[in-house]
Each structure stands twice: as structure tokens, then as C-alpha cells.
């Protein structure tokens, strides 16, 4: 129940969206997020999108992890 998972927006209809979690389609309320478009990723929790996932920040986090990885294997 505490579970929130990254979900991809598949379609938008006003305040509601259909989102895909690994291929399984769920409905999500968009009242708490702004400017979501098809293809965006949101955090799905208990039937609502509670935040948009920031791709740049995600990539930055992964980049830092990989840098550390490269540094260690040198």
C-alpha cells in the first residue's frame, strides 16, 4: 500500500490517465501533477500520480553511480 511505482502515461482524459507498469494498465488521477503528456513517467500511488519523475535527475544519479563504478575498476 505504501508502494509507489514508476508508471508510463499511455493516454490522458482530463483529470484521469491510463498508465502502464511493465505492461499492466492502470488508471491514475492527475490532480496532483501538472503538464503530463503521453510518454512521461509518474509515480503511481494508490490510484494517483503523486509526482512526475524527472528524467534528467534520474540520468544524473545513474551517471554518478557509473562514474564511481568506472573509478573503482580502474
Amino acid at each position: 500500500m505504501c508502494l509507489s511505482v514508476p508508471a508510463r502515461i499511455v493516454s490522458v482524459d482530463g483529470e484521469m490517465a491510463e498508465v502502464s507498469v511493465g505492461g499492466a494498465i492502470f488508471r491514475a488521477g492527475l490532480q496532483m501533477v501538472e503538464n503530463v503528456r503521453v510518454g512521461d513517467y509518474v509515480l503511481l500511488h494508490a490510484g494517483f500520480a503523486i509526482e512526475k519523475l524527472n528524467e534528467e535527475d534520474a540520468l544524473e544519479t545513474l551517471r554518478l553511480l557509473k562514474e564511481m563504478d568506472d573509478a573503482m575498476t580502474e
Binding site: M1, C2, L3, S4, V5, P6, R8, V21, G22, F26, R27, G29, Q31, M32, V33, E34, Y41, L43, H45, A46, G47, F48, I50, E51, L53, N54, E55, D57, A58, E60, T61, L62, L65, K66, M68, D69, M72
Partner: protein, 361 residues
């Protein structure tokens, strides 16, 4: 799956584990206060990757576990009330009340349905005018805004047969209670999704008033291990602060829209946390103007007071003072199939996760 798989890469995980081993100096006790973190830590076998000096303990982060027993009793009583349907998150179904559970009530003919969201419960009310639909509102700041949005929708539609039995709680006062209770903690792994809503600012009081390290982290193994490394560094730098590891979802201010919804519908109140007692400002209550949606006010439900089992040490486990296997009832009278106390009840409870996943040497 995007945003999941990349954060579970084995090589990155092993490197982080190695970094932690090399940075750790002495002993550390880090507490997490989120059921999702409890489950993730055990599911990914994180303790097996850490050096022996690092202890991870669970606080009261499982909303199901900290829900008072008489709340469950009241729900069961409601479910047997003529014309009432209880539409609940699946997590509550098997939670034992004093005598029974919602799952047993359903077997006995009560109208109990599982929903994935408060909105789904409202939709049941819209399509069944002959039913009074009650939604058990449990959860922390991650979940309360969703309940709030739903109540506002019900209000704007003039819905008269939708009710909420509210038990929402808020995290920071409980964390403060635990710190002041004297549990030895070197740092907090702060709740990732509560923080999405509240922002990191909600936890600033911890380093400021108590000089404890804090890192807000996500739920993948690389997130959790990064957080542990960051906590160790804060301590060795003697610079306790609130850091956001989970920056792909969390900001300093949080989700302002969600906070506004929450504040419009709810206000803070004192609340009983099962195992911890009453925590000042530890809960949320429906504001007066939404009293029509309050199941507690609309239905007369009397249940006998519940006496906790005197041998059960859930309170100490929720405070992080004792480990699950230090409880006499653990794995004997108290198991996931027959839980006695709060911590064994839910998949996110400390005792439940420990029982199912922890590889004992």
C-alpha cells in the same frame, strides 16, 4: 522496466557495498521509518551486503501496523451494518482486530470489497445509490492527498453515500517522539514517498535540533546503499543535514499541490499509534466542513476497548529498541499466518519482513 531496472544493476550495487565497507569506521545504527523501505531492504537482501558494524533498524513506518486495533473492530462492525459496504485497500483485509478481521467478516457475509484507490471507492458509491460506501483512510502523507482529492470530488458532486473512516497519520512527530524516547540512532533513512509530498524541509528539524544525519532515499537497492554511504559520510564529516538521494522524485518544497489538497480537507490532531501510544499532532482529522463524509460521525459504532497482549513487545520494536527475534512470541505464537502484534501484521512490518527474509547465521 524503466526507472527500476537501471537502479538494480548488480555491478553498481556491489560497488556501493564495497565503498560502504571501506568508508565505515566503527558502528552505526540507522533507522528507516517507511514500510516500503523495510520491505525493500529485506527483499533485496541489503543486510547481507553490509559490514557487521552497520545496523539497520525499523521504526514505525508501516501504516497498517500502527493502526489501532479498535479501528479494525469499528470497520468490522460497519461492514456488518445493513446497507454499508466497506471498500478498502487489500492490506487491511487480514489485519486481526480483537476477535475477527475484515477477511473473516467477508466470509461471514459482510459487504467488504478490495479497491486500489479511494477514487474507486467513490465510484462504487456513484454506481450503488442503495449502499453507504465507507473507505478506510489509512496511510501517511503519501496517501492522505489522494483521500483529500476524493473527498473534494465527492463534495463537488454532492455525493451523499460516500464516507471515510479516517486514520491518516503524519511522520515527523512520530520520528521526534522516537528520538526523544531515547533510542540510539546515528541517522535516519528518511521516507522516500512521504518526502515526495512533504519535501525535504519537513525533516530539517532533525539535524537542526538533534544533530542526526538524514538522507531521503528511493526504494531500489542502489538508492538504499547510496543513502547508507551518504549517512556514513555526513557522520565522518560531522555535518548532519537533510540530503536528498531520491532527487528524481523529491524536492525541498515537495508537491505543493498535494499539500494544498491535504490541508484543505484535513487538519493536524493528536492520534494513537498502535504500540507507541498517543502522539501529539501525529494524526490528521477531517475539517469541520467535511463532517458529512466522516464515517465516525455518521454511524454509531461502539466497540469494546482492546487490551494489548502484555508479552508482545511491538512498542519496543517500533521504537527500534528491540529486534524482532528478541520477542518471546516471535516465530512461536506470533507468525505471519497468526500475527499477535502490530509488527507481524503487514508485509511491511518489521517482524513480518524479518521472519520471511532474514537469513540467520
Amino acid at each position: 522496466m524503466k526507472y527500476v531496472d537501471e537502479f538494480r544493476e548488480k555491478k553498481l550495487i556491489m560497488n556501493l557495498a564495497d565503498q560502504i565497507k571501506r568508508s565505515a569506521r566503527g558502528e552505526y545504527t540507522f533507522m528507516e521509518v517507511c514500510g516500503g523501505h523495510t520491505a525493500a531492504i529485506h527483499r533485496f537482501g541489503i543486510p547481507s551486503l553490509l559490514p557487521p558494524g552497520i545496523k539497520l533498524i525499523s521504526g514505525p513506518g508501516c501504516p497498517v501496523c500502527v493502526t489501532a486495533v479498535d479501528y479494525i473492530d469499528r470497520l468490522i462492525a460497519l461492514s456488518f451494518t445493513r446497507g454499508v459496504a466497506v471498500a478498502t485497500f487489500g492490506d487491511l483485509m487480514r489485519v486481526p482486530g480483537t476477535v475477527s478481521s475484515l477477511s473473516e467478516a467477508h466470509a461471514g457475509g459482510a459487504d467488504v470489497r478490495v479497491v486500489l484507490s479511494a477514487y474507486e471507492a467513490l465510484e462504487i458509491a456513484w454506481s450503488h445509490h442503495d449502499l453507504n460506501v465507507v473507505f478506510p483512510a489509512i496511510g501517511f502523507e503519501t496517501t492522505a492527498p489522494g483521500t483529500a482529492v476524493t473527498v473534494l470530488k465527492a463534495a463537488s458532486e454532492g455525493t451523499e453515500n460516500f464516507f471515510v473512516l479516517n486514520a491518516h497519520k503524519v511522520m515527523p512527530p512520530a520520528m521526534e517522539e522516537i528520538i526523544r524516547g531515547g533510542t540510539h540512532i546515528d541517522g535516519f533513512i528518511c521516507p522516500g514517498h512521504v518526502s515526495v509530498i512533504t519535501g525535504s524541509s519537513a525533516f530539517e528539524f532533525i539535524p537542526r535540533n538533534y544533530s542526526l544525519a538524514c538522507v531521503i532515499t528511493g526504494f531500489e537497492p542502489t538508492d538504499i546503499l547510496s543513502a547508507i554511504l551518504m549517512l556514513i559520510r555526513q557522520i565522518s564529516d560531522n555535518n548532519p543535514r537533510v540530503e536528498i538521494q531520491y532527487n528524481r522524485a523529491v524536492t525541498a518544497a515537495g508537491n505543493v499541490k498535494a499539500q494544498e489538497f491535504m490541508n484543505e480537507v484535513f487538519e493536524p490532531c493528536d492520534a494513537e499509534w498502535r504500540g507507541l501510544g498517543v502522539i501529539n499532532s501525529g494524526g490528521l482529522t477531517l475539517r469541520e466542513k467535511f463532517v458529512n463524509f466522516d464515517a465516525g460521525a455518521s454511524f454509531n459504532i461502539e466497540v469494546p476497548h482492546h487490551e494489548p497482549d502484555p508479552v508482545c513487545i511491538c512498542g519496543e520494536i517500533l521504537r527500534g529498541v528491540s529486534r524482532p527475534d528478541q520477542c518471546v512470541l516471535f516465530a512461536t505464537a506470533c507468525t505471519p499466518v497468526h500475527p499477535v502484534g502490530a509488527c507481524m501484521v503487514s508485509d511491511e512490518g518489521a517482524c513480518n519482513a524479518f521472519f520471511k527474509y532474514h537469513v540467520h547465521e
